[in-house]
Amino acid sequence: MTKLAELQTNFIRDCLSGQLTPENTLMANDLDTQLISAQGLMSIYQNSAIANITNSLSLSYPVIEKLVGKDFFQVMCEQYIVKHWPTSGNMDDYGESFSSFLAEFEQVRHLSYLEDVAQLEWRFHQSSLANDNSYFDWARLAEVASSETITFLLSPSLSIMSSTMPVDKIWLMNQVNTPENIELSLDGDSDTFIVLFRQGLKTEMMTVVASEFAFLQSIENGHDFEAAIESAQTVDANMSIDHCLKKYIELGVICGFSV
């Protein structure tokens, strides 16, 4: 390793090491410490990196920040960051495991909805970065023979999730323009099925019935149309597949197919 490479390895190790002390600061012999100690100097960069990464998490998880408050959010982020330092310069990719971290974080473990709200926010974030839909070819669909096996393709911006919590309502109540008349109960016994997809510049969120969720989930898992129908009708035998398919094609949620 070159001298500079070794110095940079030590610099990173100091930044990753959490609380710096005179004993554990690897950069101590490389820095001019006449006015400020080595751990004092390294702390500036450690804190600055943490602040920059926290800012990135704040952009991906604004509702979580609002729910727990800015100060506590910073505390949580710092704990998360020291365990999960970035390994890429593309900060859009950073923070996927934040939801599972929240589930284990002692001080908020009793807030059981936080993990799913964070998951929802990550899905919003990913949807905003996804590629656009291709154009759905209705004419080609009409030409497909009934004997052929069709597998539908989902929009790159689509994300589906289910939760035992009303995370859609929690998310909506924490937006700038909160819709009126949202009734929130954390004691409900029905699951929430959420579909996210981008239309133009906006990511839309819909709650759907269990059978439609099963239909989309089956397609997402790579199953063909027949298997998707079976999944949906296992949940609701009376479900209208025609209506469901037309609706999701028109919304751009289903954007193509292969035969």
């Binding site: 390793m1 070159t2 001298k3 500079l4 490479a5 110095l7 940079q8 390895t9 610099f11 990173i12 190790r13 930044c15 990753l16 012999n29 490389d30 820095l31 001019d32 006015l35 400020i36 100690s37 004092g40 100097l41 390294m42 702390s43 500036i44 960069y45 600055s48 990196a49 920059n52 990464i53 800012n55 990135s56 330092w85 970035p86 390994t87 890429s88 310069g89 593309n90 900060m91 859009d92 905003s128 970065l129 996804a130 590629n131 656009d132 790159p156 981008r198 510049l201 906006k202 990511t203």
Partner: protein, 299 residues
């Protein structure tokens, strides 16, 4: 889409997502805008779609923060992937200028710190940075500008001054320089050097762009440090230093840079007006001096 290919001239401002709609709907009078390239790696993203619209009306400069040009890591996939992401974004954006910093972020261990970390200014570091700049310019197929960062520490072994280091990089690699006047001021305070000595030792033709920004102060172990936050107005001392820079280098493209505590766009435009007034003032003085010299020469 019609791409605006004009060169970057006059006083531009940072383009932040908080101001996307204002630029699209009201098209304020700004000659060019600068973006952080890293915020537009996904060209299908919502942010990129806004930028594509804005790009139709404003020339864009691409300011990178993560090429990690000072990194000694060899065959570093983190850096190489980042460079390819930059290339992809630059190919799409066709910016008037591309810049990054004299700093590093990626280590041999595969970790990446989203910050502008300082390098020791040594012969060894010079060879590494020069090599990385040449590689970046080869991949991007164009000149890049290197910006002087703010720094808060100095290395024991760092025998070359920053102005010498940057000047030599420009000569050796053909890169241009992006002079951040605020960063000179911040580092000069933190490391006790003279701002004008710095300015006067930068070669006249190397500088292609100037940055102006605000900073904050922090007490560390009883010593007051200036911290480059890009979150406030430009201070009076930096405006005076900017005037000296314009006198020395001419009316170079200048950016009002703002990255944290983003205010109303009106605040950025107000700072832009101040920079324009200084450019006008310097041009006026130069014109008066030219006339006076001509008259004196005749008499």
């Amino acid at each position: 889409m019609v791409l605006i290919m004009q060169s970057i001239q006059g006083v531009g401002v940072s383009l932040k997502h908080q101001h996307f709609q204002e630029f699209i709907n009201h098209k304020p009078d700004v000659p060019w805008l600068e973006v952080h390239t890293e915020n537009f790696f996904s060209q299908a993203s919502t942010s990129s779609k806004y930028l594509a619209q804005i790009r139709q009306d404003y020339p864009i400069s691409a300011h990178c923060v993560g090429m990690s040009l000072g990194s000694a890591a060899i065959n570093c996939p983190v850096r190489e992937q980042h460079l390819q992401n930059i290339k992809s974004t630059v190919d799409w954006l066709q910016p008037g200028l591309i810049s990054d910093h004299l700093s590093w972020s990626a280590s041999q261990s595969g970790h990446y710190l989203p910050d502008l970390l300082p390098i020791p200014l040594t012969e060894e570091a010079f060879a590494i940075v020069a090599n990385n700049i040449k590689r970046a310019q080869d991949v991007l197929q164009r000149q890049i500008l290197i910006e002087n960062p703010s720094s808060y520490l100095t290395y024991v072994d760092s025998p070359i001054t920053e102005w010498q280091f940057l000047s030599s990089l420009a000569e050796d690699t053909g890169c241009g320089l992006l002079l951040d006047v605020n960063n000179i001021y911040v580092s000069a305070h933190n490391h006790n050097f003279d701002c004008l000595t710095y300015l006067n030792n930068i070669p006249l033709t190397a500088v292609k762009e100037i940055h102006l920004a605000g900073f904050s102060t922090e007490m560390i172990e009883g010593k007051e440090l200036y911290i480059d936050t890009h979150g406030d107005r430009v201070c009076d001392d930096v405006w005076r230093l900017y005037e000296q820079a314009i006198k020395r280098f001419g009316a170079l493209p200048t950016l009002i840079e703002w990255d944290t505590n983003i205010p109303d766009l009106a605040v950025l435009l107000d700072e832009k007006s101040k920079a324009e007034a200084i450019i006008t003032k310097v041009a006026s003085i130069e014109k008066s001096n030219l006339i006076a010299n001509t008259v004196n020469g005749q008499s």
